[in-house]
Symmetry: C2
Subunit: 242 residues, 2 copies
């Protein structure tokens, strides 16, 4: 069975196979070595995602993923009293929900690599522009998410990873290292542009590789075509016990 890598998250994971998407790029990186399985749920926060957990990650799976990215928080960080407040999850619960996810995954497969990914930063101007283009004059004057509030979710995510000895990707910080990050990496102040997707792809590949999951060292599933002797092709496939 080929190993698999699961991407579990909200719309930023769900959209990761759109043009330029980080999930598609990861699939390409692990071509012929591991399957990349997307489990992205637009609009979901960690509270709602917990209902899915045991259905996506089965305790008795014979072939559990070798790695999983947990990438929530962008919706949990929606502010109370603003347009997306129904998605809001208090910070303590967010951190606790992430812990519950990690505990469940560890029960499924103790050796599974779990990577916690923080939400990306929020470009509040981008959110306001997006609201205006969607709702015109009826758009709310205040954005439903702020970069400052999301920062707290990001830091709690990284903190939990440190407490548990897990790798994490602090997208909130990483993206803001680059000037013009708001328009460069975010299409609507929240979701990723192809360049933003490239940052996520690069970071996921780096973190997986640091933990020993690297396409460069993983074997091909079957012989490379150049290893096949056209006059005696059976030879290249002998080890498969045909």
């Amino acid at each position: 069975m080929r190993p698999s890598i699961v991407l579990f998250g909200d719309s930023i994971t769900g959209h990761s196979f759109e043009p330029g998407g980080w999930g598609a790029a990861l699939t390409n990186t692990f071509s012929r070595k591991a399957d990349v399985i997307v489990r992205g749920y637009g609009g979901y926060n960690t509270r709602w995602a917990l209902f899915l957990l045991q259905h996506i990650f089965l305790l008795d799976s014979t072939n559990p993923p070798i790695a999983t990215t947990i990438f929530f928080g962008a919706n949990d960080a929606a502010l109370l009293g603003r347009n997306s407040e129904r998605q809001h999850v208090p910070i303590e619960e967010y951190k606790d929900n992430l812990l519950k996810m990690v505990e469940h995954l560890k029960k499924c497969a103790p050796a599974m690599l779990i990577v916690l990914v923080t939400p990306p930063p929020v470009d509040e101007d981008g959110r306001k522009d997006h609201a205006r283009s969607s709702y015109g004059d009826k758009a709310a004057k205040l954005p439903e998410r702020t970069n400052e509030a999301t920062a707290v979710y990001a830091s709690n995510c990284v903190e939990l990873a440190q407490e548990l000895g897990l790798p994490s990707i602090n997208l909130w910080s990483k993206m803001q290292e680059t000037e013009g990050w708001g328009k460069k990496y975010l299409s609507d102040g929240l979701h990723l542009t192809p360049e933003g997707n490239a940052v996520v792809h690069q970071e996921v590949v780096r973190v997986l590789s640091e933990a020993g999951i690297s396409a460069e060292v993983m074997p091909f599933d079957f012989p490379h075509h150049s290893e096949i002797d056209a006059k005696n092709p059976e030879k290249a496939f002998q080890h498969l016990c045909l």
Copy 2:
């Protein structure tokens, strides 16, 4: 278990998660409805692919794919006496190998939808340019594939599909309906540009849909976030038997 769609083929399938790729686009089309699994083997012809068949498609799988695309022929059609002759497979054997693939898949799952895809057309000028850019003055003067030879493989592929009552996609014909197809759809006279990938994506979606496999009619795996009552989220997940 979520249904899966397997893409079985050569490099044109293997590259289908590169930017603009048809595999990535198909994954996006079936987001939250079906998994798209890529089994693309660069350089492989149907003769070599037969060695992989029983390892990729297990007879005793509890969750076989609901659909599989079989997309070979570009390498089988390499000409004898030219640079890629080791990949050549005679036309009768190509057709017979495709038949063996179909027979095996039908044994795995009689209800599986099998779609035969012909090789795309060959732009011989594009192949020669590619050879020159790779090998300079040492490049062969004659292309290793011709559009005329590939046509025979395409027509045998479609003919087999008709004989077996399977859907097929005649990419060889379809692409040549558009003026400037050689540069528009092919990056090196053989592999696909993003626009060429878009044609494959559109054709695969059309053929699957005609056979009743359509993202539009398939259910979401879990509730859409808008169906979740924030005050009583359990309700939306009751049917999952938590």
